[in-house]
Symmetry: C2
């Protein structure tokens, strides 16, 4: 899996569209499992770009993206960082699910808007917790 990682600076990783595509699947599955565990029943979700974009804009890595971004680009950057951390074996998906789950204060029947806000907070926590495994710059 490590062989799939070719870029090693924050800017390169965050702009790697292949990593972003793989990270998209990773982030969706981790969120879906975390949400299922919090609600106590199996379910699935496509995490919206806006949620991930807000989360990465709170983080130091965002200073290194090196260009202006819309929500889609910013979400891609978040997904690419998670793929990098996962592929290099630094944090397994189980741990990502666990961190999201601990910080995901959603309930059954909540509005999608409220869920999106709470999901953003959980994704901020996830990025902070895995930050030590990212390149410094």
């Amino acid at each position: 899996m490590q062989s799939l990682v070719r870029n090693h600076t924050l800017q390169e990783i965050m702009n790697d569209k292949g990593l972003a595509k793989l990270g998209d699947g990773l982030v969706n599955l981790c969120y879906s499992l975390a949400k299922s565990l919090v609600l106590g029943e199996a379910t699935g979700e496509k995490v919206r770009d806006r949620v991930l974009a807000k989360a990465i804009r709170e983080h130091r890595a965002y200073d290194y993206i090196g260009k202006r971004t819309d929500a889609g680009d910013a979400a891609d950057a978040y997904e690419a960082l998670m793929a990098y951390i996962w592929l290099t074996g630094r944090v397994g998906y189980e741990e990502m699910v666990q961190i999201l789950r601990e910080h995901l204060e959603i309930e059954q029947g909540m509005s999608r808007r409220m869920e999106a806000e709470l999901a953003t907070l959980a994704f901020i926590q996830l990025l902070n917790r895995v930050d030590e495994h990212l390149p410094r710059e």
Copy 2:
């Protein structure tokens, strides 16, 4: 994770829409990683319903679905079976990726149609290989 599984006959599992949603993320991530490893570069893919529908219609489980299905329902059934096997700890995602990868004879630059046909064959193999972990009926 096991607590998320509430149904235990093939028919119940294949018609469980919660499992199907979670399985959707699982199948997409496993396929994306298998494809990345085969091609030697990170990429991601949403597996099309038609691919999974064709794969499950080749399998004995399909006799138990208990209703007529369109491609969306049949794909949901495939996804639900994979989620069941994963959540009950019978087969990990790494092994699913490995089985897909072994049988995925795609190449760079192949048409989407050809890739879909080859993906179908890999998903048939995957279902056959995990079949022993499914309920008999």
